[in-house]
């Protein structure tokens, strides 16, 4: 059964779209990750114009993050004050990113920048995941486990300090604003929530307790991806609501199954598996960039002010 998507301007099989939503949703439930960094490249692979894939996926992430944050909210795992500081940076970053996106579209380089950004981030994240999980597997075989004591981070020495009760921190607001800004930039250009960058940054850079990082990052992602949805709607008209709704219908169901399965599997093996998937998507993008395309010429609409 085919459905015509009015903004993407192409006809896609409903079950393919639902299946992709379900598959990526399953992985996100299984691993507790957003899934935008897999969904955007997949949409591009099936022929959705990259600009539409990015903007539409940002819209879908709004929904995914809302349902995620509600669960963390109930467990009181959201640092709202820290979240709002991250949102300030995120708004600035996504606004700059959205205009950068528009500019890149006009000079015909947006597809390349999207692909290259994904190659870099998927490559780094996938490699780190595989290394980390292999180390964990080796360590668990030895049976040892060590925990780091509280550290003093360089971020603690900057001005404009603020107290964050829930995170038990008294730090400068500059690092969280910069983290938020960077993640906002990624959200606008790549159509990802950016949790895979933000969560490590929150733990290792800001020194936040791990219990609140996921809920707080989801809280920030809602606002930032909503801003991206809004700005892309205004600047480039590339948000396909019909596609987003169908993807998230699949993702919601997939995530439930993923969450259930994850409790039955071992963490480090899961992480290695996800790392392998991420690297496979990265490899496909690299192949598309370095192999001579079948037609060197491509057509695009004339985009001007």
């Amino acid at each position: 059964m085919q459905i015509y998507f009015p903004i993407a301007e192409l006809s896609l099989n409903v079950f393919l779209v639902l299946g992709m939503g379900g598959g990526v949703g399953f992985l996100s439930g299984l691993f507790g990750v957003g899934g935008g960094f897999l969904m955007t490249p997949l949409l591009i692979f099936i022929g959705v114009p990259p600009a539409v894939a990015v903007a539409t996926e940002a819209n879908q992430i709004v929904a995914a993050s809302v349902s995620g944050v509600i669960a963390h909210w109930r467990r009181n795992n959201v640092d709202i004050k820290m979240g709002l500081i991250l949102v300030v940076g995120g708004f600035a970053g996504s606004t700059v990113g959205s205009f950068l996106f528009k500019l890149l579209r006009e000079i015909g380089q947006v597809d390349l920048v999207i692909s290259l950004s994904f190659v870099v981030f998927l490559g780094v994240v996938g490699t780190l995941m595989v290394i980390e999980s292999v180390r964990l597997m080796l360590r668990s075989r030895k049976g040892g486990y060590r925990k780091k004591a509280h550290q003093h981070y360089w971020a603690h020495g900057l001005p404009f300090k603020m107290r964050f009760h829930k995170s038990k921190l008294y730090i400068s607001i500059i690092p969280p604003i910069l983290v938020g800004f960077f993640v906002g930039l990624l959200a606008a250009i790549m159509g990802v929530g950016g949790g895979f960058i933000m969560i490590p940054a929150m733990i290792y850079l800001l020194g936040m307790p791990t219990s609140v990082v996921v809920g707080t990052s989801l809280f920030q992602i809602i606002f930032v991806t909503a801003n991206v949805t809004f700005l892309h709607s205004i600047n480039t008209q590339t948000v396909d609501v019909a596609l987003a709704v169908l993807l998230l219908a699949g993702a919601v169901i997939g995530a439930q199954f993923g969450a259930r399965v994850s409790s039955k599997l071992r963490g480090e093996q899961l992480r290695a598996l996800l790392g392998a998937i991420v690297l496979a998507v990265c490899a496909k993008l690299i192949v598309d960039l370095i192999f001579e395309p079948s037609d060197l010429f491509s057509l695009g609409p004339l985009v001007t002010e």
Binding site: Q2, Y4, N59, Q60, V62, I70, T229, L248, F297
Partner: protein, 249 residues
């Protein structure tokens, strides 16, 4: 549609009869004169049919709305293929199809084919001023890229010998893919004999998004701020709904 076919059939039967007087050399019609792009749209085929008074060749030319296109050529830059040179073309038909009863070069000489735009080589579109400094052959490469890329998307098609005759009745099918752009398409039917156009008939076919597709597309383009807000509200609601529906106790 059926009644139209019937009328035409009656008409052609009459025309074939011995009492036919002042009959037009060419009569043609289509099974539809508008196409609605709805959610189930996967492309469509329209039947074009008609009658001619005595043997000759029939050529059908369909041209979609004109658009401005940027053609980009990739080149390898430090191992990566990226867009480098680009040429902007104005007034390129978004869709172009020719169907004929015999190969076009057997039907008409180049001057006639050029005048009636029979064949991709005779399409006229302007090159934006600032790119004129490109050499002739290079410019031709960009022009050919339009025809090739559009053909791959089924938006440019030359179907020689696809107009089929049964006595003096002819028929052909016009194929519009799912990505056929919206707008008014001109449909020209030419009756040709001895390399000249004896008679022709022009009609218009309109392709429009309809229903929910129309609403979404219009809202996105005419009220982008409102559209963005609606998209956000839908996502917020859907996310909340999912959290409530799958709440685990």
């Amino acid at each position: 549609m059926a009644s139209r076919l019937l009328v035409l059939l009656c008409f052609s039967l009459l025309a074939a009869g011995p009492v036919a007087a002042a009959e037009p050399p060419l009569v043609a019609d289509m099974s539809q004169d508008s196409i609605s792009i709805t959610s189930s749209f996967t492309g469509t085929e329209i039947l074009l049919f008609g009658a001619i008074d005595r043997p000759g060749d029939v050529v059908v030319v369909v041209q979609g709305p004109r658009e401005d296109l940027v053609v980009r050529r990739k080149a390898r830059v430090s191992g990566i293929w990226m867009n480098r040179k680009s040429v902007t073309f104005h007034g390129v038909p978004a869709y172009y199809a020719v169907a004929s009863s015999r190969p076009l070069e057997d039907i008409a000489p180049p001057t006639v084919r050029a005048r009636y735009r029979l064949g991709g080589d005779y399409l006229d579109f302007a090159i934006a001023g600032e790119t004129h400094q490109l050499a002739g052959q290079e410019l031709l490469d960009f022009r050919e890229a339009i025809l090739r890329n559009k053909a791959r998307e089924d938006l440019f098609a030359i179907d020689e010998e696809q107009v089929r005759f049964r006595n003096h009745l002819f028929r052909t099918s016009l194929v519009f893919p799912a990505n056929a752009p919206e707008g008014d398409y001109s449909v020209n039917v030419y009756l040709m004999r001895g390399g000249r156009v004896v008679d022709n008939q022009q009609s218009t076919l309109s392709i429009r998004k309809a229903g929910l597709e129309r609403t979404i597309f219009d809202l996105a383009n005419e009220q982008p701020a409102l559209y963005g807000l609606i998209a956000i509200v839908i996502a917020l609601f859907a996310g909340w709904l999912a959290a409530v529906a799958f709440r685990r106790t």
